[in-house]
């Protein structure tokens, strides 16, 4: 077992354990902050998949942008969201949670079956890519390649997504403004 494997297991354990804590936690603020840990551990997993640029983007956009936004909404929506804290009967094993647990367990069984039957390491195109040396090694020159590809091969999705992002941000600003006339 190599060091990468051990790191992978540690990272995935941190990610899954913190995600599980977010799911079962009764404390809202704490679950938002634990979600930070999940995102950082996922960034570590991306690094282990040799996608360092995506990992840095994950930290910048998710941790720097989305979570701060979530915290803002959390604090702006005031006491009502925190009132849930006072309800004592919010344990995981409540009877109303049973259908959700059932659905999730069934979906998980289906997913695991599909994954084990797929045998992803021996798919056709992956064998081809290993044969033609078309897989990423840890030489650290991938960011330049991403930049070149972004401006040539993926130029159309790049432009479309930039316009979409602008529209979404303008729309969000429009939605959250104060209404002048009631």
């Amino acid at each position: 077992m190599s060091a990468a494997n051990i790191l992978f297991y540690i990272m995935s354990f941190i990610a899954l354990a913190s995600a599980g804590y977010v799911a079962v936690s009764k404390n809202l603020v704490r679950s938002v902050f634990i979600f930070f840990v999940t995102l950082f551990a996922l960034a570590g997993l991306y690094v282990l998949a040799l996608a360092d640029f995506v990992a840095v983007t994950q930290i910048v956009v998710y941790v720097g942008g989305i979570l701060v936004l979530i915290l803002f909404a959390f604090m702006l929506s005031g006491r009502e969201t925190l009132n849930v804290l006072q309800h004592p009967d919010r344990s995981v094993w409540k009877i109303t949670n049973l259908p959700a647990l059932l659905i999730v367990a069934l979906l998980f069984i289906v997913l695991i079956n599909v994954i084990l039957k797929t045998d992803a390491d021996h798919l056709g195109w992956i064998s081809d890519s290993i044969k033609t040396k078309n897989y990423i090694t840890n030489s650290g020159d991938m960011t330049g390649n991403i930049g070149v590809n972004l401006m040539t091969r993926y130029l159309l999705p790049f432009e479309i997504i930039s316009i979409l992002l602008m529209m979404a941000l303008v729309g969000a600003a429009h939605l959250s403004r104060k209404e002048s006339v009631e």
Binding site: A15, V22, S77, L107, F158, I161
Partner: protein
């Protein structure tokens, strides 16, 4: 070299946890967190398979696009949540059940 199946299993578990959060939580912001978790599971798959595409970087590129899309969705969703809170004084999706003003 880490097997692809490991990534797929981790991503499947993460997706299921996200789905559980979406189904169970009674708070719009926590449901949003669950959706983000499911998106992250999908991105993990994209990145794991993107390792085998050195020339075109397909997986990593679309992982980046998915991250940007998640940012856009979150901004709009949080604006909607704030509006719902202003109107109904609650963000429990079960209690927001009127279509008219």
């Amino acid at each position: 070299m880490i097997s692809l199946t490991n990534y797929l299993v981790v991503s499947a578990i993460l997706f299921c946890i996200g789905l559980y959060i979406v189904l169970v939580k009674r708070n719009a912001i926590q449901i949003l967190i669950g959706i983000e978790m499911m998106l992250n599971a999908a991105i993990l798959n994209l990145v794991a398979f993107g390792k085998f595409d050195r020339h075109n970087n397909g997986g990593q590129m679309f992982a980046l696009f998915a991250i940007v899309l998640a940012a856009a969705t979150t901004a709009v969703a949080l604006a909607i949540v704030l509006n719902v809170y202003r109107r109904y004084k609650t963000i429990d999706p079960d209690k927001v059940d009127q279509l008219k003003d």
